[in-house]
Symmetry: D3
């Protein structure tokens, strides 16, 4: 929330245009802006814009903007002296995107070690082919796990996968009927379709193929790419693994075309749900800014308020 | 229903064992059978079976059975003199399966002509690669369109596809926003996953991969096989086509992981539903054996009775 | 959207008052208006209104308004010099309503020809009694087919009925169990209750009886009016026809008190759904004004976005 | 349950054939019957039936049957000496149907008095036209209120209507916004369509038009018959009254095409539900024959068991 | 709505701060307020607020505010001369809350008489222990019956309970299977958990324990407090009574963990629903301010409009 | 399934009467029985029973039965020489009930150690008061966790609780926002109401209070008993703990009157679901007796088949 700025500061920043409105007055016109970057929102005003700027700069553009901080109606705004568009490639998009606060690379390395310990050599081979692929890893570490709920930030998919792996290993200890290798493979691969489903530019959104096909179908096709490179992968194992991907939403109405019909697929579904909901609620609790209340704001995705407790409110 | 048999007829037939029960009496034992073939059910009795027969012949086996027709408690049964198993390969499985009464091969040829008239060369190329593939055609003409509702017989998939094509062409005439080629391609391909989903032996059932993955996912993978052999198929066209396959059940709760989001996908869904339901109800009306009633038996899949009208009942 | 106006134009128009707000300032007061007609929205300002105008002119009134176009804060508005209410009867309400772009009268005539070809003389007689009734035709050609989704414009009901007839005739060709005459009659009559359900004044809304009784019940009562004038209409045919009307929404939760229980009623339901959804989506695609996107705005009635494709966006 | 019979009794009765099975044995054949009348079920055996009887007597026939009671496998059965069909008209169908135990005629008369006290003369005139119509009354007093749940017996509709009237009058006292006359009229008329919906022969079933149109639509049409005979019935009052009929199931998914939108329609719906459920459960409790349990058998329509309490079980 | 005020009046009132906004202008700043009390909303403006007031007075505070009424942009506002916070205890919170217009104390006394007439001495003792408890009564007469729908005002719970008692006594007359005493006890106690569920300060809201536990669980625990003080209360009676409380929402999805399984529990549920809905709709009709329409505004909780009729609109 | 018996064995056992049918023949009568104990079902026949036995021995009675094993129609049955009822108290009911195969007492002791390690002294005190209570422990170790799905055997509740504790501890490690002590307490207590809800005699069924109140309400009341004995237990902690119990079914339609609104309550719900479903499916896989199939029988509670895989089928 741009908290460290104060009146009189001179500023030059690369930011995304979040809003832009033109206002006319008797003597002329001005543009009101809202810019955003990782630190939050900054308002700005540009007096007597040139035609180039008025038409050329639009919402979602990345701009280099400079000026001086002043106060207006009790809040800070930037009196803009310069503004110009920055082309893709000239800036680091992750500047505008929230990112995981955890050491995503180390989490990946830990998962690689777990993969190396998989007993079933077919599964181990497949998982290594994927997770040791440099190109894959590059996409994997950037991917969020969702657009607007749990883990909706760079590195979110790694976090989500890693935490699910911990739960899965525990479950494999507890339940003797579980095929540990298969469960592990299912957890590692269940959401890989999200790499294509979600596009990460200066914001997170669905890609066209993501919205039209969904990450379940994209994930199966992704897996097929790697399976084609592997000789003699057992057909039944392939079907069991894809079944886990296809059924991991648990219910048809949640977007799985098939319901879980193996113990491993059921476990995957429950662990996925658990991690997503708990992290989603944690995000709500962290972002919540409601003062003087034991409750968060209303959480639409869950159709409820979350209780913060009176102690926390009192701190 | 084996209607032409009468007491005293000598019979020798290849049939499937549908039921088998052993009965003991004071002087010994006998086996009660029910056999089925395309003409219906035939009861049979075998007195004093050998151990080989008692243990070796089980339900779902195909057998060559011979004997004489006699009457027992008001109905006909076969007093069995000989029974032996017949191996796969020695008989034509379609003997035991209902089949389309329409000229399935001609319907296929008509569809080939329509494919030849597709303007978009990418779609035409793809469709020809598939529908002119001899191996594909062999599977296609045998496939049913469902296990136990509409078109649940050999050739059912061809019938279902063909009738939908007629409706689709009409719709493409009526609605100017529709891409005729794309709609046609979607109709032709929407259910191809059923070829793998349903196994056709001496009865129709789901295959393991069919139940675990479903015909939507199997269909997309099937399409991928052919797309891999085609250079330069436009990415957006591929996505639109797969979107139609993936969304053709219309709603998540009906097993589509994605809802229709193009006019063509919506049309495909409605045409599919229309054809399936109308043919399903026609099958109910044809099979219905309820006398003295203006109504069919209760149809569980539709949760209703179907009205036959009083004229038909009066005939 | 009033696109051809420019600053300085003098205007005199009959429009509907869409909004009216009073503003006070130190020296006096003024009224801000929004007017609408077929060409869209026009803003207006009236300085120092008389009491008669301030109180007498209210939202939904039709007014004759005159003045000069000026620019204010970047958009055009009418500086009002004269405004007066126009009574019902003095203007043509269709001025304020969107209308079908198709030759509605010709579509009606084509349907009359089809009716003349109906073999069943009872149905033919009934349909002619209705569709050749001048009073009915006058209402029929004006009626929209819905308030706010598909065919929500004058002539929409004729369009919707006509297109459904085409699909129905095709279906009657394809499915041998279908009674063509009955299906045609059902299609022609299924929505006639909408003539009373929807009131068409200077906008389309539900009438009181429409909201309290619904077009299904109103339609059956409408049919009864005509049936009373016909001697010897067979009871069973009457029941079958009304059954189609009563069940055409397909499911109880969609507002049919009875589900379809004949092949013709099922077909009517599916054809109705198909036409409504495809035309509804076409309207969305046409009206969509979202730039730089492959997707339309979110469509609440369908709970989804519609994909426009990248080619169209690129045009 | 035919409780007063004992071995050796000679019996001659008019009963309905509920089941009929032929059995063969070495020496010949016999027919096993189940007959039913108001007192319950009686089993019967007929040795060496003539061909006329074997073919001519079928399930649902009404027969005059005579013979002697004997014991077989621990229960009583009739050894049949004579059996012949009785034609419609020769017997009183209510012999085979359960009937209300309350004085249905008196309940009707009480309702007539209430109708005479209705202040609104339009409603009073309408209600008198209907309820003082001899033909209507004859049907009304015979009608059940449902096929297989609450009030499923002759006179059930009168009982249901009468009890609802009591509740409605109380509610009209309590709630000042309620139009007492309108509520009373709605209660009296809401289920009149059931007279046509349910056919009462020697058992209660849906008529064809009942199943195809439903009692809501039939009821509105019934009302129209009487309204046509009344000059000057106010349109709005007619719409309000029909609205109550049309919406009395409360929800679309329960078969009302329109939801209640007036206080009177809401009240009608709740009172209807209350009376139907309470009487339905009372019937379950009365018929329940489960010994040694504090619970009734599972009630499918309510998807639950009903608690009888331990005291009752102990009696 | 503060209707008796006019320009120039001097005002001093205790009100709740409903909104507070700061505005800056070139020469300084001012605060815009909205205050509310039972008579409605009053706008106010405070020029050049002190820091103490600007920071110290916040939304939901109760304040003593004084000043003079002036006109601004066509509506009245208070030009504030003094404003100070009032501590809890210094004012009567019911000043800010709507309250029942019925004689709540008399309704309570009538219920006490009914309790005295209960035949079952265990139930009578329990009900007297609760309803003659001074502390309970004090809470009971203040409690609303809901937060934002029916009876959402002080005394609402008494009204709701009292009217349900009337209906219950009528139902106990009509239905012979009903245990009148048990039904009466269930009605009187079913919502007592609302006393803790809803907090009544200067507005009605859920308490923390109310939102986290719900009035059903709180009600059962409340009852346990009193039961603990009673020797020998029969276990089965206790279970039956609690069953009514636990199941009174009728369905799991409405928040009852158990569905009604006794006649009394079913009746309680239906009577509760009836009273809540009818009173809720009455409140909507009373508060409705929509002019020139036969319909109320859209009622979100019922997902419908309510019909007021044309006569009322014409008055 | 009584597998070690063979023709000629003399048997004397205590078993439950599962079925009893009387048969008559020309020369007299006999009784056919089915008895059950932990080893399965045993058929029996008693020739010429005395009146005492015929009337006095009924289904669900526990009897001491003796006789000799003979063969009848291909299966073994007991030719009964003696049969007499055994009173409650004379036999160990767990003889007739399946029991956990795990060391239930050790699991309890491990949980006691975990309780001793709880940091929050209020929670630790409460948990010790309950779990160190001898009477509680006796009930706890016997209780099943469900009637007919997961853990439906003696000791099932301990198993279910113990496995959930393992998952909960893991989750508390992974998710930093989780209050470990609170989560542990919630897991340990969430199903304690099942001790009263399920009655364990010679079979597992719902108790009357269990069916009428449910284990959620019973559990909260159970907790209240112990809380009453503890001075100064913080109110907010009590509410949070009860909230977990009340909301642990996750959704209203699953029987929780309140949805989870804290992280701990959400976690409890997901862990509970996970353990119940995985163990339920394991039970299905173990009990499954279907030969020659890769699939189990249809599992009604899950509305699906479970895939066993082809390897297992091949073993």
């Amino acid at each position: 929330m741009q908290s460290e700025l104060k009146v009189g500061d001179r500023v030059e920043r690369i930011m995304v245009v979040a809003k832009k409105v033109r206002r006319d007055f008797t003597g002329g016109k001005f543009l009101l802006f809202q810019f955003s970057d990782m630190e939050g929102i900054l308002k700005g005003v540009l007096w007597e814009p040139t035609d180039d700027i008025e038409r050329g700069v639009t919402v979602d553009d990345v701009v280099r903007v400079s000026g001086e901080i002043q106060e207006y109606q009790g809040s800070l705004q930037l009196r803009i002296s310069g503004i110009e568009k920055v082309s893709e490639g000239e800036y680091d998009p992750s500047l505008f995107l929230p990112a995981s606060g955890r050491p995503v690379d180390e989490l990946c390395d830990e998962m690689l070690k777990l993969i190396a310990g998989v007993s079933d050599e077919n599964l181990r081979g497949l998982l290594q082919a994927i997770f040791e692929d440099e190109g894959f890893r590059k996409s994997f570490v950037r991917a969020p796990a969702a657009k607007g709920w749990h883990h909706s930030y760079i590195g979110g998919l790694v976090e989500h996968t890693y935490d699910m792996v911990q739960l899965a290993l525990k479950a494999a200890e507890i339940y003797p009927d579980v095929d540990r290798d298969l469960l592990l493979a299912g957890v590692l691969l269940h959401d890989i379709g999200k790499i294509e489903e979600l596009s990460v530019t200066n914001h997170i959104d669905y890609s066209d193929s993501g919205r039209l096909l969904g990450h379940i179908t994209l994930g199966v096709e992704f897996l097929d790419e790697y399976l084609r490179g592997i000789e003699g992968f057992p057909h039944e194992l392939e079907v069991k693994l894809k079944h886990m991907m296809v059924s991991h939403h648990g219910l048809l109405e949640n977007g799985s075309p098939i319901v879980p019909m193996t113990v491993e697929a059921l476990l995957l579904h429950y662990i996925d749900n658990l991690d997503a909901q708990v992290r989603g609620v944690s995000q709500v609790l962290e972002k919540n800014t409601r003062r003087n209340s034991n409750w968060t704001e209303y959480v639409r995705l869950l159709d409820r308020y979350i209780y913060r407790g009176s102690e926390e409110a009192g701190e």
